[in-house]
Amino acid sequence: MSVALILGLLLGAGGVQNAIPFVPNLRLGTHALETPFREPEETVVSVVKLEKRSSQTGAFPSGVWEQGSPGSIHSVLAQKPTPPLLSRLWRVLSLRDYNTRVVLLGTTMLGITAGIVGTFMLLRKRALVGDVVGHSALPGIAIAFLVMEGLSPGTGKWLPGLLAGAFAFGLAGAVSVMLIDKYSRIKADAAMAMTLSVFYGLGAALFTIVQKVPGGNAAGLKTYLNGKTASLIADDVWLFVGVAAVVLTLTMLLMKELTILCFDDQFAAAEGWPVFWLDTLLIGLVVTVTIIGMQSVGLILVVATLIIPPASARFWTDDIRRMTLGAGLVGGMSSFFGTIISALFPRMAAGAVIVLTGAFLFALSLLFGTKRGVVIHWWQQRKLRQDVGRVDLLRASFELIEYAVSDPTPTSEEMVAHEIPLGDLISMRAWDAASLRRLIGTAVRDDLMRPTSGDVWRLTESGAEEARRIARNHRLWEMYLMQYAHIAPSHVDRDADLIEHVLDPELIAELEHQLDHMEDNVPVSSHATSGSSSD
């Protein structure tokens, strides 16, 4: 219980309100996290006094709203004497407990569904809408309760009604973000932050009122808000299964439409797709998943499962279908393993563990993803740098030899025989001795150059061939630029320098054709080469 109290406090306990009898406390009251609701008569120590006050003045269990409390599997296990880890693992994995089965199935189902819906939101650059929706739903629950209670007392906690209220306000929150973004000079980020806090504030104010309505402070509504303190039950799982089925069917049917919406909504609009309705449908799916998931596993988990799985899947593929599947997979996996870990150890809230498992999978994907992962990106960059370096080195060597040999195009024999000292090479480009030595080292390993003595090298046969080819490509491109792009001779070198690394053989053939044959020779440079100008 102490944990619950501290949690309430840390999550922003209403210090002011707490000390004052008649101002209700909005923030405290997470005592409902694990303990049943306490009646005001109970007074023991000062801690309980605090609790009493908060219950009198209408506590609003915001902490629970934020975190949810799905992780009660261990509470089932904890009631028995704790067996050793291995047998606990076996017990969890074999799904012997009904409770474990239900929770595992429920969270995994939710993870998969949220991952799939989240994919489209991520691609639509609206990843944080789930956050807004979850917070905006709060007043909906209070108003639904007040309305139902007002119509006929005692019916205030009818679940579908409360869900409908939450859905309506969640949707209203998302729509107000879109409207503010569209019709005012306030940007979407500020619109989200505003909507989130205004709706949540309204909810907080209304909940202090609900507490004072006769019947409002009984356990039912609180249990609902707390996210099923005991744990998920079979009915919830059926609800999840139903939602998952609807979401999956809709996504599969509307895959093409949603894809086009995510990548080019203006094109979609121009093609005559009902962009507004597709957008609303997508938001509707997000709201559904958020509302359904929130009351069972807590808001922050739902927000995380809407964002983390798709963001992870993005590192592995460029294909939206695969990304959707991947997001479902990551969502399911993080929920599954998170739930198992939290079941194995006491005091591990499943919601938090699931989020952290997801974050771990995200970190793995960020590093090792095969499409956009950090490692592969770094590797590709390195390879590109090496290729560029090799090309630069060989062309510099060619130009040195060309300058030294009187004949405008040196023969292979002349090229192989010529000695290239380091000092000459350094003056060819803006590179330093260390990086040049590294490049030459790589070239030597690739059998393009060979050392003669000290800091002097020669080209090998294959190196000479390669150098000739590279110089030729460079000059062809320069000539092309001068002839067709009307670029001044003094400017073509840098342009060609950038492009020469990516000229492929087909393009070279095309250039040759354009420039009317060119034997296999290297054309004379159209401007002073750096070899001749450097001294």
């Binding site: 944990v3 501290i6 949690l7 406090l9 840390l10 999550l11 922003g12 306990a13 209403g14 210090g15 002011v16 707490n18 000390a19 004052i20 008649f22 101002v23 209700p24 909005l26 120590v45 000062s46 801690v47 605090l50 609003f60 975190q67 609206r126 990843a127 944080l128 005012s184 000079r185 940007k187 980020d189 500020a190 989200m192 932050a193 989130l196 806090s197 205004v198 949540y200 504030g201 309204l202 907080a204 104010a205 209304l206 202090t208 009122i209 004072k212 006769p214 995380a304 809407l306 964002i307 983390i308 963001a311 005091r347 591990m348 919601g351 563990v353 989020v355 952290l356 960020l366 950090v374």
Partner: protein
């Protein structure tokens, strides 16, 4: 008859005066405690509004959300640290509270800057959209905080009473020793002053970094340093505000006043001053409404037990209402003023079109159709709604541009003819200009000229005429009317 008709008005008046009376009656219970609460709330809101304004300007609003969530592990760790220091015997029980306060701020700043850094890192390294990387980072950090609470706090056997009341004692009821100033007033007031001072000191840097980071960097201002500095200040402010308003509503205090101010002004200094003002107003008004509105509403709905709602929630709602008011009523950027502007423009254009058409019919009397009135014809040609069209006709009649004949037909007055002549002249000059300088086919000239004729004033007409060497005919062979002498 008359009495029956008058009664509802009386009722409304009566209800109104009762409600106003009730409002002030409820407020008459205002005590010094209320003043303390409203003052604390106002200072909290004001301290949040300053960094919040920069968050909005830099389009980092959701960073406020992330920071207030990710402060959790910082707070937990500060808490653990203070407790373990006490257990180790380094500090006394009495010192612990003071240390805890310091640790809370340090922890929040460390975690806040860490979150901002991690977000940027994930965004850059993973090439993700900023919202997504923010979402990944802050949910994970928050989850870590939750886990920390559950794993560690229990083991440390914290003296719950002390910790709880160590923080709660800093509420509005608790005054600073020796004075009657409530502690939140002191704490949040101090934060407000610090924020104000920092902003005055770094105003130029903040401005440059927000509007042109590239220029800032080239001038030697560390734009990234400014970013992280702002994050640290925001994190500190948020933690100080937690004790009065809680973590979610802090986001509102950060963002809403600034957004409201942005609807009202374009000048940065005015925006900053306005956001502080709006923040204070929404805090005080929020508390006033807390005391009055719920009871006034719910006593009518049959719940006499409802006395008030939470001040924090109402503050946020009030700020939201103020934003909505600004959204609709702002003189320049408001929805209503934009609508009025568009309506006026539409009216002017429709009126111009009527005048132009009447003038053309006068040029060639034969082709004036008899089966359709001129306004209807214009409406049909340009897709203008009949409602707007009748407004325009009324405006023309009132301005004595046209007069209505007994047959109902409109004819130009002398004044209208002058105005129409200028329009047609603008239209044809533009056509001639387009024909001369752009390679457009003749049948494409009319459309653009028709659109632009409303905006070509005398000055441009003269310049066009000089440019075209005083042409007599437009490309379609129609004469360009002479300039009317004033």
């Amino acid at each position: 008859m008359q009495r029956v008709g008058a009664r509802p008005t009386d009722d409304v008046c009566q209800t109104k005066s009762i409600m106003i009376h009730e409002f002030f009656q409820l407020l008459s219970g205002w005590s010094s405690l209320d003043t303390a609460i409203a003052g604390s709330a106002a200072l909290t809101a004001m301290s949040c509004a300053l960094p919040g304004a920069w968050l909005v300007l830099r389009k980092h609003s959701m960073m406020g959300d992330a920071l207030s969530h990710s402060a959790l592990p910082g707070v937990v760790m500060a808490f653990l640290f203070a407790v373990s220091m006490k257990q180790a015997g380094w500090i006394s029980e009495a010192q612990k509270d003071a240390f805890l306060q310091v640790f809370l701020f340090v922890g929040a700043v460390v975690v806040g800057v860490g979150t901002a850094w991690l977000t940027e890192w994930v965004q850059r390294l993973g090439r993700l959209d900023s919202g997504a990387s923010l979402g990944v980072v802050f949910t994970a950090v928050f989850a870590l905080g939750l886990l920390l609470i559950r794993l560690d706090v229990d083991d440390v056997h914290i003296d719950v009473d002390c910790v709880l009341f160590g923080i709660i004692e800093t509420a509005a009821l608790q005054t600073v020793p020796g004075t009657s100033i409530p502690e939140p007033v002191l704490v949040n007031g101090a934060i407000f002053l610090i924020n104000l001072l920092l902003m005055v000191l770094f105003y130029k840097e903040l401005k440059l970094a927000a509007f042109d980071p590239g220029l800032a960097t080239s001038l030697g201002i560390p734009a990234r340093g400014i970013h992280y500095g702002l994050m640290a200040v925001t994190a500190m402010t948020v933690v100080a505000a937690f004790t009065t308003v809680g973590s979610i509503l802090v986001i509102g205090l950060l963002i809403i006043p600034a957004a409201t101010a942005l609807m009202l002004s374009e000048r940065l200094k005015v925006v900053l001053a306005l956001s502080v003002g709006v923040a204070a107003l929404s805090a005080v008004l929020g508390h006033v409404l807390t005391l009055t509105l719920p009871r006034m509403i719910f006593s009518r709905l049959g719940y006499p037990t409802i006395e008030d709602a939470g001040t924090a929630g109402m503050m946020s709602v009030t700020a939201g209402m103020l934003f909505l008011a600004a959204l609709f009523l702002s003189p320049r950027h408001g929805v209503i003023s934009k609508l009025i502007h568009r309506l006026r423009l539409g009216q002017k254009i429709a009126g111009d079109d009527i005048l132009g058409l009447l003038f053309r019919f006068e040029e060639q009397t034969a082709i004036r159709p008899t089966d359709i009135t001129v306004p209807d014809l214009v409406a049909k040609q340009n897709g203008i709604s009949p409602w707007l069209m009748s407004l325009s006709v009324r405006r023309l009649l009132r301005g004595d541009y046209v007069s209505r004949q007994t047959t109902g037909e409109l004819i130009l007055t002398e004044r209208g003819r002058e105005s129409a002549k200028s329009l047609v002249r603008a239209h044809r000059l533009w056509e001639a200009y387009m024909a001369k300088h752009f390679e457009l086919p003749d049948d494409h000239l009319h459309e653009t000229a028709h659109r632009v004729e409303h905006f070509i004033d005398d000055d441009i007409q003269n310049r066009l005429q000089t440019e075209l060497e005083s042409p007599e005919m437009d490309p379609h062979g129609k004469s360009i009317p002479e300039k009317t002498e004033p």
